[in-house]
């Protein structure tokens, strides 16, 4: 960076406040990022991290507070202004056009047409320099999520940023990709680009970041050097209570008869750029928890829909629930066979946000709980069922007449998992059981899943969180590009071996890219 660097921190924020309707997202938050620093921003979902970084990037206008950038007070108007100041951001959700090439996508984000001159060569140079292999001519829809993230990083680096903000960058990466990303980030920091790193993966933060600012409920609650604290200590600062961990349990013996069998299940994805499922064969015994690991977008939601009956299988025999061929049955009939499901998306899929908890209890519960009498809804019984879920799963709400959308993510998830578990399923399939859920609720959900398995149900958990699978599952399989690897017992699995399987398709593409 040619310009002389003025002394003092790169970025100082004090008293940042942002009020959303019904929610104080940032309450006098302060943050200081030094030069050459990899700084972690820690906190649970809803702690206000995203709002704070969106303020830095000019997406959100703060109600109050002062931002000092390189010693000068600034009011950041919009993302373009932030970019001119030297701030780049890689969002958790990418903004890429699937049907365009890498170069075309990057060109679209540029401020002026002049910047497009020699763009291809600059992309190649930067991507080689920082170990971010990219083929500029490839179409985005052919690329893995890890490669797509590289496009976003390269797009930022083209602007010569002094601060790079990364929002949960590793949630879409395999363990080996994570290590490569860290090498790149350390190198960037050494060369003068500070990194603001948002994550809730504490082990990663400990190994990567030299400083951390911790947020809770919209406030800054402390700063520390993460390497000097244990993961448990960091987590306890985040949630402000002692962290309980799941008690270890004996792994189930596989003597019980199978309750859920998939036999060469093949599905074509209904979405143009979605993944299909190819030749999936699995068998789950009663009392067993099978974990399906994998990076987002490798067929998890298709697998979930194929199991719940939202997508029908090609042959009836490719899905057997307690020995009954269910491949051509819809969700209603599969529930009759004692199978229950919790999809990933809470709002609008597992629940209707604008309906009450009672009405949402009815949504998937009316079949097995017999909540319909002569074609009409038995409101008394439905309300009792909802009340029971609320009580048994400690759902914090005003009661069964509260709208689903008024609940926090963790509470709604407890309600939805409770709704299925209280139906005594023989087979339970959960996609991302604790996605965006606070630590207390996550523990409650994990305990409920284990108790259900111990009562004899076959449970499949599909999760991007390897720690979760390692804590819960008896066996683990990996989904990559619509294929599912043969399950292996948990004691034979290592993070490295699972990580390699998660890479699946990605590894070969990478080899192709480096070979060229």
């Amino acid at each position: 960076m040619p310009d002389p660097t003025p002394p003092g921190p790169l970025l100082t924020m004090t008293g940042m406040t942002k009020q959303y309707p019904g929610c104080l997202a940032n309450d006098h938050v302060s943050l200081t990022v030094e030069r050459n620093q990899i700084h972690a921003l820690l906190g649970e979902n809803g702690a206000g991290k995203s709002t704070l970084v969106k303020t830095i990037y000019g997406v959100v206008k703060p109600d109050a507070g002062e931002i000092v950038w390189e010693g000068r007070k600034v009011a950041i108007q919009n993302p373009r202004h932030a970019q001119r100041l030297g701030i780049g951001m890689v969002f958790q959700h990418f903004s890429l056009f699937e049907a365009l090439t890498v170069t075309e996508n990057i060109a679209l984000g540029l401020a002026s047409a002049n910047d497009r001159i020699g763009l291809r060569d600059r992309i190649v140079r930067i991507s080689n320099e920082y170990g971010l292999p990219l083929d500029p001519a490839r179409m985005v829809h052919d690329l893995s999520v890890g490669e797509r993230q590289r496009i976003e990083i390269v797009r930022c680096l083209l602007q010569n940023p002094k601060l790079l903000i990364m929002d949960e960058p590793t949630s879409v990466l395999t363990p080996s990709e994570v290590q490569k990303l860290f090498v790149t980030l350390r190198r960037l920091a050494a060369e003068g680009c500070s990194i603001l790193y948002i994550s809730h993966k504490l082990q990663e933060v400990r190994s990567l970041c030299s400083h951390a600012t911790i947020m809770r409920l919209g406030r800054t609650v402390g700063t520390c050097a993460p390497a000097e604290k244990s993961v448990k200590e960091l987590a306890e600062i985040m949630i402000n209570m002692p962290l309980n961990v799941l008690a270890p349990r004996p792994h189930a013996a596989r003597a019980a008869p199978p309750r859920l069998v998939l036999d060469k299940l093949t599905i074509r994805s209904p979405h143009y750029f979605g993944s299909g499922l190819e030749n999936i064969s699995l068998s789950l015994a009663g009392g067993e928890i099978l974990g399906i690991a994998g990076i987002a977008g490798n067929g998890q939601s298709e697998l979930m829909d194929a199991l719940s009956g939202e997508i029908l299988a090609d042959r009836p025999e490719s899905v057997l629930i307690d020995g009954v061929a269910a491949g051509h049955m819809g969700p209603h009939d599969r529930r009759r066979l004692h199978a229950c499901f919790v999809p990933e998306e809470r709002n609008g899929h597992a629940a209707v946000p604008t309906m009450t908890l009672s009405q949402n209890a009815f949504l998937s519960g009316f079949t097995r709980q017999a909540l319909v009498r002569f074609g009409t809804i038995d409101t008394k019984k439905t309300s009792a069922f909802a009340t029971n879920i609320i009580k048994r799963f400690d759902v914090r709400t005003t009661g069964p007449n509260a709208q689903a959308r008024s609940l926090s993510g963790g509470n709604l998830q407890k309600f939805l998992v409770g709704r299925e578990i209280l139906q005594n399923p023989a087979v339970l399939v959960i996609n991302q059981p604790t996605w965006g859920v606070d630590a207390g609720a996550a523990l409650a959900i994990h305990e409920a899943i284990v108790a259900l398995a111990q009562a004899g149900a076959a449970v499949m958990i599909i999760s991007q969180d390897l720690d979760e699978i390692f804590a819960l599952a008896d066996r683990i399989a990996v989904i990559a590009g619509g294929h599912v690897s043969p399950p292996i017992p948990m004691r034979d699995a290592t993070i490295e071996s699972i990580g390699r399987l998660m890479g699946g398709r990605t590894a070969t593409l990478e080899e192709m890219a480096t070979a060229r």
């Binding site: 309707p21 939202e310 969700p331 209603h332 999809p343 998306e345 998937s364 074609g375």
Partner: protein
């Protein structure tokens, strides 16, 4: 400067106050328009909204006008709650009248105990046929029902014009585009002798109550509501979207068909090209004014019926063009949709800097 910001939750107060505010704004705006046309606004609004009720038989005329609007509005409420945007009720209304009227013209001498029920069934089938075609096009070809149902409304209107100027024209009708008068056996039974007050006036509120019960209390109604609020959740629950689209189009189409038949046999006594002065489109306003709640559709239907009577009165007494009714209805729908902004948002005044 006004600033619009989201409330976060739906306001209970504005849920009921928004239609009232829309009505007030409509009154103010239409007064301004009347004033611009050189008519005293007070007198015009009086002539438009109050005078028709004070006339002899004013109430009778009002309920007769309201009955078809309520029947169609109720059917539309159901469809719209399920996100099925049937815009072509006017066509379903017309086809119902054509089919039922066809039965009446074909066998005028059959005893009314057989003939009229047969006509009602034919009317319902006509409306369902029109609505069913729309459902089939959406399900089979993913064709947008807003466009197809609207286009069918025009097709049906031309079918009616063809019939009453061609094969069905009354040979003794001096060349007017109309059929022969229906026989007495084929007229809608009257509730009060020698008036237009026909059984539709009784039927409309009964249908509204029945559909309200269906929508709010039964599993089928729950399916419609879930489909309208979260399509994926409906799939998760195992509700078939296609089946619900079929049912919604058949019910809203069928009710429009019956309404059309009752209009033809209850007030006109024959088929003419002027069968529907846009009743099907007015029913859309009725459904929204009633907040897509079948019970609230009843007063909404009465109010919109009043605008038709008021339009006639304004034409006769003040020499205003007939288009006044359409203008008034258009302004009302505009404000209704606009005031819904207040349900989820609040407006705050921020002093200009």
């Amino acid at each position: 400067m006004p600033k619009i910001e989201p409330r976060g939750t739906e306001s209970k107060f504005w849920r009921y106050a928004a239609p009232v505010l829309a009505l007030l704004l409509t009154g103010v705006t239409s007064s301004l328009i009347f004033a611009a046309m050189g008519r005293p606004p007070g007198l015009t609004v009086y002539t438009f909204l109050i005078a028709p009720l004070l006339q002899q038989d004013g109430i009778q005329a009002l309920v007769v006008k309201a009955a078809p609007l309520i029947m169609m509005g109720v059917g539309l409420s159901l469809a719209y709650r399920a996100n099925v945007w049937n815009i072509g009720t006017d066509g379903q209304f017309t086809l119902g009248a054509i089919c039922g009227g066809g039965v009446a013209l074909a066998c005028p001498d059959v005893t009314p105990w057989v003939l009229f029920p047969a006509m009602m069934i034919a009317g319902a089938i006509g409306g369902m046929l029109n609505g069913g075609l729309v459902a089939w096009l959406r399900i089979r070809f993913n064709a947008n029902e807003i466009l197809t149902s609207l286009m069918f409304a025009y097709i049906t209107q031309y079918l009616l014009v063809y019939l009453v100027t061609g094969p069905w024209r009354d040979p003794q009708g001096f060349g007017f585009p109309q059929t022969a008068l229906f026989s007495d056996n084929a007229l809608a039974p009257r509730l009060i002798a020698d008036t237009n007050v026909h059984i539709g006036i009784l039927l409309a509120p009964l249908i509204a109550v029945a559909l309200w019960f269906m929508l709010e209390k039964t599993l089928l109604g729950y399916r419609f509501r879930v489909l309208g609020q979260a399509t994926r959740a409906a799939k998760f629950a195992g509700f078939s979207e296609n089946r619900l689209v079929w049912i919604a189009m058949l019910i809203s189409g069928g009710l429009a068909g019956v309404a059309g038949l009752l209009e033809a046999t209850g007030t006109l006594g024959q088929l003419t090209t002027n069968l529907s002065p846009g009743y099907g489109f007015t029913a859309i306003i009725v459904a929204f004014l009633g907040r897509l709640n079948p019970l609230a559709v009843i007063p909404a239907g009465l109010l919109l019926a009043l605008t038709y009577l008021g339009g006639d009165a304004a034409q006769i007494n003040l020499g205003l063009p007939n288009a006044v009714t359409g203008i008034f209805q258009g302004i009302l729908l505009f404000y209704l949709l606009g005031c819904d902004l207040l349900l989820l948002n609040r407006i705050r005044w921020i002093p200009a800097r």
